[in-house]
């Protein structure tokens, strides 16, 4: 008994060689992990308690950055609700769009792969190109959309020049470019066993009931995955708002990533930017935690053979 226990603790020579080989193979990641993640995490935490403009060495100022952000910073007060609005509304709406498109494509359709390609298309266009195209399309004077409205005798809409409309406009652009999730959903929908639908039909469920009680539950693991990644990426969304609205008009699209970037690389307030980064990290960790904790209630894991 004892001998067995000891053998489990101690590695044999072969086992040790295996660990060394394994470590050798993963060493690029391990080195990168220490250099680009662990060290930056630690030093960013330290910088968040300092005043640091890169040119001079950091000066420890305690909690001042955090206190300033939450009490006296007029911008952060706007940035936080802006971001919650954008992510909180934009991510679910993009997912719902993607899901409905996938559901539509999953029915009997002539030329499905053509439609799938078209719906996926906006997702492969570089974000900086999307910014160029939409800035022209939505231009209040020369843009196609407003020109059509004008030609029809209607009033033009200040999509990106009105503080009330800028955020919804960006959200709609996000819905338009949600093809990545659509592909995922479509593949998931096609994996739902036919028998489940047949059984539901036999039990007298109509199309809507089948959608609600079979389709959606079978897709909840993927919905959770896209929701979590969507939120994480949503908080970091930078290129499109930066190039399209650059935070304007009157800070209505000044989102977290933009404001952080501005503080770090335009105002050289590295300490404050680091404090913002840690607050963002905390927000993401808490949200992910809540999503995973509550997921037991709405996520259904079919016990597949995989």
């Amino acid at each position: 008994m004892r001998a067995v226990a000891r053998r489990r603790e101690r590695m044999t020579a072969t086992e040790r060689r295996r660990v060394l080989t394994g470590l050798l193979f993963v060493s690029p990641w391990l080195i990168g992990f220490l250099t680009w993640i662990i060290y930056p995490l630690v030093s960013s935490f330290y910088y968040s308690f300092t005043r640091y403009d890169v040119l001079r060495s950091p000066v420890f100022i305690g909690l001042k950055n955090y206190v300033e952000l939450f009490t006296s910073d007029p911008h952060f007060r706007v940035v936080l609700p802006n971001t919650f609005y954008y992510v909180g509304l934009g991510t679910p709406l993009a997912l719902v769009t993607a899901f409905l498109l996938a559901t539509l494509l999953n029915t009997r359709i002539v030329g499905r792969s053509v439609f799938r390609t078209i719906f996926y298309f906006p997702a492969i266009v570089p974000a900086f190109v999307l910014a160029m195209v939409w800035s022209y399309l939505l231009n209040p004077q020369y843009g196609a959309i407003n020109a059509v409205l004008q030609a029809a005798g209607m009033k033009t809409i200040p999509f990106l020049t009105s503080p009330a409309l800028a955020k919804p406009t960006l959200i709609v652009i996000g819905m338009w470019a949600s093809g990545y999730s659509m592909v995922l959903y479509l593949a998931t929908l096609q994996n739902v066993p036919r028998e489940l639908y047949e059984a539901a039909t036999v039990d007298g469920a109509n199309a809507l009931q089948r959608f609600w009680n079979v389709t959606i539950p079978m897709c909840t693991p993927v919905i959770l995955f896209t929701l979590v990644t969507g939120i994480i990426y949503g908080f970091q969304d930078f290129t499109l708002p930066w190039l399209l609205t650059n935070g304007g008009p009157s800070e209505s699209t000044e989102f977290y990533a933009l404001h952080l970037f501005r503080n770090a690389f335009r105002f050289l307030r590295m300490g404050k930017a680091s404090a913002m980064a840690w607050i963002l990290f905390l927000i993401i960790v808490v949200l992910t935690f809540i999503l995973f904790k509550s997921s037991g209630r709405f996520v259904y894991y079919a016990d597949t053979s995989e």
Binding site: R18, G22, R108, P122, P126, F128, A147, L243, T288
Partner: protein
């Protein structure tokens, strides 16, 4: 697993068998559904159609109401003029040679080796380390951005592509995860047979596993290339000399010409011309590797 995925993604056979004769209301329903799809796809494609068409407009067609949807005659010379309006040859060269190609090489080399270590070799502590690796995907880039910038600043690497290229040689969690999913589809017996024949792990990886996952390697290479091609924020942080600009920043610079007096008129067609050119590689790559790409998305998204 690979076979299973591809067979479930397109269950054509099953579908064909189910095709039955439709009733009159069924026909109407089909027509309604297909019309909806056509309208939806038109609205999805219209912005990009607008981009491609606007690239061919002349000065009179840019600012007219109602807007011109078919510029006749198309002004193809816009492409040449736009390209020469700024040094786009140089920007392309910077993007491809200084950024995208080195990143692609680094990404393929490092991720293959690491993913191999995380999937094909069985060693104690592997799974713990791998779950740490997965967790790093949750860390927002913004958290590490400032200290990483400071490291590169101290190394004197600002205004070079090294800060964007060198990290690519150290693998990244997402690609490791995707490749590992592919590697795991290969039966273990294959490696074991080679091990018995006296092959080392590196030989097995190089000679046996890599030839089997060529499509996955293509996905890794193409995603790395496109990642660099599409990147705007990275260069925005590190590159501030015009002669080092990548295409993304060159295009943004062109759009800034809108705010200058005088040349305003043709800037929109030029912007759209460059935008169209810059989008083309993504389109080609997508059509070229659509199946494999989608399989990659599915493997990471569903089977995770």
């Amino acid at each position: 697993m690979t076979v299973q995925v591809s067979s479930t993604v397109t269950p054509r056979v099953a579908r064909r068998r189910r095709r039955t004769r439709l009733s009159a209301t069924g026909v109407l329903g089909e027509i309604a559904k297909h019309s909806l799809l056509v309208v939806l796809s038109a609205s999805f494609i219209l912005p990009l159609y607008w981009m491609a068409m606007s690239a061919l407009k002349n000065l009179d067609q840019v600012f007219v109401i109602p807007p011109v949807w078919f510029p006749i005659p198309p002004r193809w010379i816009n492409y040449v003029e736009a390209w020469q309006f700024d040094d786009f040859n140089l920007y392309t060269l910077n993007t491809v040679v200084r950024y995208a190609i080195p990143v692609t090489i680094g990404s393929v080399l490092s991720n293959v080796v690491v993913a191999y270590g995380f999937s094909r070799i069985y060693w104690r502590g592997r799974d713990v380390l791998f779950s740490i690796c997965l967790m790093t995907m949750m860390i927002p880039g913004q958290v590490t951005m400032v200290p990483v910038f400071i490291i590169f600043k101290h190394l004197g690497w600002v205004n070079s592509y090294r800060p964007l290229v060198v990290p690519a040689f150290f693998a990244n969690a997402y690609t490791i995860f995707m490749l590992r999913q592919f590697f795991r589809t290969i039966p273990r017996e294959l490696s074991e047979a080679a091990l018995i024949d006296g092959a080392g792990e590196f030989t097995i990886m190089w000679r046996i596993i890599m030839p089997l996952v060529k499509p996955a390697l293509a996905v890794v290479a193409l995603s790395a290339f496109m990642g660099a091609w599409n990147d705007y924020m990275g260069p925005l942080i590190y590159i501030n000399q015009t002669h080092l600009y990548p295409l993304a920043m060159g295009l943004a610079r062109l759009s800034a010409a809108l705010n200058q007096p005088g040349i305003k008129g043709m800037v929109y067609p030029y912007m759209m011309a460059v935008s169209t050119i810059v989008t083309l590689p993504s389109v080609f790559i997508f059509f070229f590797a659509q199946r494999t790409f989608i399989e990659g998305i599915v493997l990471t998204g569903i089977k995770g």
